[in-house]
């Protein structure tokens, strides 16, 4: 019974495949695997927009949307209808083809990333043996889409926003990949399915998630910081910069194209959260051996929602960084820490298991963290600002 519930989608797919003639089976299999992704994640996007507006409202002691439907639950549908019926304005001097293609490319790239995410046991679209590599390769297509949008709009605000976005995304792509390298070193595989299966083992009822190791904690934190910057979310939302460059690279977009950008951004956030879950939080595996009775896909989506809530919480708390702070943080703190983390992961690999290994690796993680923070703090000079031209 538990097995059936866990594999309900897989069984349903096989049952449907039984009715298809064998020459059509590969195509049908692909379509049947893609359709749930195309339904589940945009639906999650709709729920997240509502959750985010409600959560931010409560953080600011407001009520949030509460007019459309019960507690404003129909708000995403109202927003969708609004953006669909809006006029689609394209600037006269814009490059029409590129302007049209940019949001599509963004959404397609975001969707492609889901093909290697194992959302449950035996529930992955393509079990590539280079899955993690594929994920990051597809993730960097987003940068191209962003620059296409900024460049084709022929607006200085879009271009500024796009340049900020590119600078930020490239800066944080490096620590994002380096932070995940530690997991690949430990698992010895690039396949996402393989990585999750290695974490879904239990000793004394506790799972072998990589977050329960010193390098795993640091790797997860670094990965999440880089993922926040990568998905252009607050406090790293400079490309959007509501208060200075209005909406950044998608200022010249309206109507449904704007909604597509929004969708693409959120899908990217879910995808990076999903890969963080896969790499560090044990993917679809239950947090305790006793809890494996709960279907695996429920665990994946529960972890995803928890990470989404963390993103919303962070967004409601931290103000936007300055451009130089953003860059310094990436190159002076996150990148060295990611490299040190790789060294710690190597030490972990070659030491005998036990409490000594844990303590040595924890010290190796904590000491550079404290030293680097102190050094960076000393470098920061606080002084009265003098204005050369404004007096």
């Amino acid at each position: 019974m538990i097995q059936t519930l866990d594999q309900v989608f897989v069984i349903a797919k096989h049952w449907l495949m039984g009715y298809v003639p064998s020459p059509l089976q590969p195509l049908t299999s692909a379509v049947l695997s893609i359709i749930p992704i195309l339904i589940a994640f945009p639906l999650l996007f709709a729920i997240t927009t509502w959750l985010e507006r409600k959560g931010l409202g409560r953080i600011q002691n407001r009520l949030g949307p509460n007019r459309a439907g019960f507690n404003g639950l129909m708000q995403p549908i109202a927003d969708a209808i609004k953006s669909l019926t809006k006029e689609d304005v394209v600037p006269l001097t814009a490059d029409h083809i590129v302007h049209f293609l940019a949001p599509l490319l963004l959404v397609v790239a975001a969707f492609l990333a889901y093909s290697v995410l194992p959302v449950g046991r035996n529930m992955v679209l393509a079990n590539l043996n280079s899955g993690v590599l594929f994920f990051f390769a597809v993730g960097s297509v987003v940068e191209l889409a962003v620059f296409m949008a900024g460049w084709s709009s022929r607006s200085k605000y879009s271009l500024l926003g796009a340049m900020r976005a590119i600078a930020q995304m490239i800066s944080y792509e490096v620590p994002l990949v380096l932070a995940s390298v530690v997991v690949i070193m430990q698992a010895g595989s690039l396949s996402t399915v393989e990585i999750v299966e290695q974490q879904a083992q239990y000793t004394h009822g506790l799972p072998h998630w990589y977050i329960f190791t010193p390098w795993g904690i640091l790797g997860f934190i670094l990965f999440m910081i880089a993922a926040t910057a990568e998905s252009n979310r607050s406090p790293f939302d400079l490309p959007e910069g509501e208060s200075e460059i209005i909406a950044g690279y998608y200022i010249e977009y309206s109507g449904f194209k704007f909604a597509l950008f929004f969708l693409g951004e959120y899908l990217g956030m879910f995808a990076t959260s999903g890969i963080a879950i896969t790499l560090f939080l044990g993917g679809w595996s239950a947090p305790l051996a006793a809890l494996t009775v709960v279907p695996s896909w429920i665990w994946f989506f529960a972890k995803l929602l928890a990470l989404i809530f963390a993103f919303i919480w962070i967004r409601g708390t931290l103000p936007r960084l300055r451009m130089d702070q953003l860059m310094n943080f990436a190159w002076e703190f996150i990148l060295p820490m990611a490299l040190i983390n790789m060294f710690v992961a190597g030490v972990w690999r070659f030491m005998a298991p036990g409490i000594v290994r844990w303590l040595v690796c924890a010290a190796l993680v904590l000491a550079p963290c404290v030293v680097l923070a102190a050094l960076l703090k000393r470098k920061k000079k606080l002084q009265l600002r003098t204005y050369s031209f404004a007096e």
Binding site: G55, R58, I59, Q60, N61, R62, L63, W313, I314, G316, T317, L318, C369, V370, A373
Partner: protein
């Protein structure tokens, strides 16, 4: 320590998040169309016309003097004067407006019309929402839409309305007293005239009696606007 400020901030926002579910006084939002904030007594939005009694046509205080129309800075008032007269709040025969329109989409709520009105006829209303699908004719209020009773005025601005009522009552009394003295004077004059005619010859009676009555009538009609302007 590194990240200490971030953790403090996260704790604060978490406190806000859960606190807003537990303690209702944290939420300052007013659910607008259903709930409204109480208005202070000096609230003002758009002008309306006050009428006494129950009939808005008969009791309208406006005498169509058109001062407000001339003073209105954005020129949102339009008045057409009547040909005939009807008794006003004080009881004297006056003109009345056949057309009195205010375009509230033009009105800037400056209250100058209220300040210049010598007859306490135009006052400021407190209603601020006039949602409509037609922004032209639906926002051009005519005489009937503008006419509101004195009781309504008491409801929205009690102190101000009481002062206005007292002033009007005093004026009514003064007018009554003046009318009484004028009547008494006319009666005395008439009595004197009849006494004169009775003592003198009969042939002079029509000539003396005729100028006495129109003269008294002209005197009272001239006194009314002057009394009104003094307020």
């Amino acid at each position: 320590m590194l990240g200490e400020g971030i953790i403090k901030g996260l704790a604060e926002t978490a406190r806000n998040f859960f606190g807003s579910y537990v303690r209702k006084e944290r939420l300052t939002t007013v659910q607008y169309p259903e709930q409204r904030l109480p208005q202070i007594e000096a609230t003002r939005n758009f002008p309306f016309l006050v009428f006494d009694g129950t009939d808005p046509d008969a009791g309208l205080r406006c005498v169509s003097c058109q001062i407000c129309e001339k003073e209105c800075p954005p020129k949102c008032i339009f008045i057409e004067k009547s040909k005939d007269k009807k008794p006003d709040a004080v009881g004297k025969p006056q003109f009345y407006p056949t057309v009195f329109n205010i375009d509230v989409s033009v009105c800037m709520s400056c209250q100058i019309c209220v300040e210049v009105c010598p007859f306490e006829a135009i006052k400021m209303d407190v209603q601020y929402d006039y949602p409509t699908e037609d922004r032209f004719s639906a926002l051009l209020f005519d005489k009937h839409e503008l006419s509101k009773s004195n009781e309504y005025y008491h409801q929205i601005h009690p102190t101000e309305a009481a002062a206005v009522d007292a002033a009007l009552a005093a004026e009514r009394e003064a007018a009554a007293a003046k009318a009484a003295t004028a009547a008494a004077a006319a009666a005395a004059k008439a009595a004197a005239a009849t006494a004169v005619t009775s003592t003198q010859s009969n042939g002079a009676t029509p000539a003396a009696a005729k100028p006495a009555t129109p003269g008294a009538a002209a005197d009272t009609s001239e006194a009314q606007p002057a009394g009104g302007e003094k307020r």
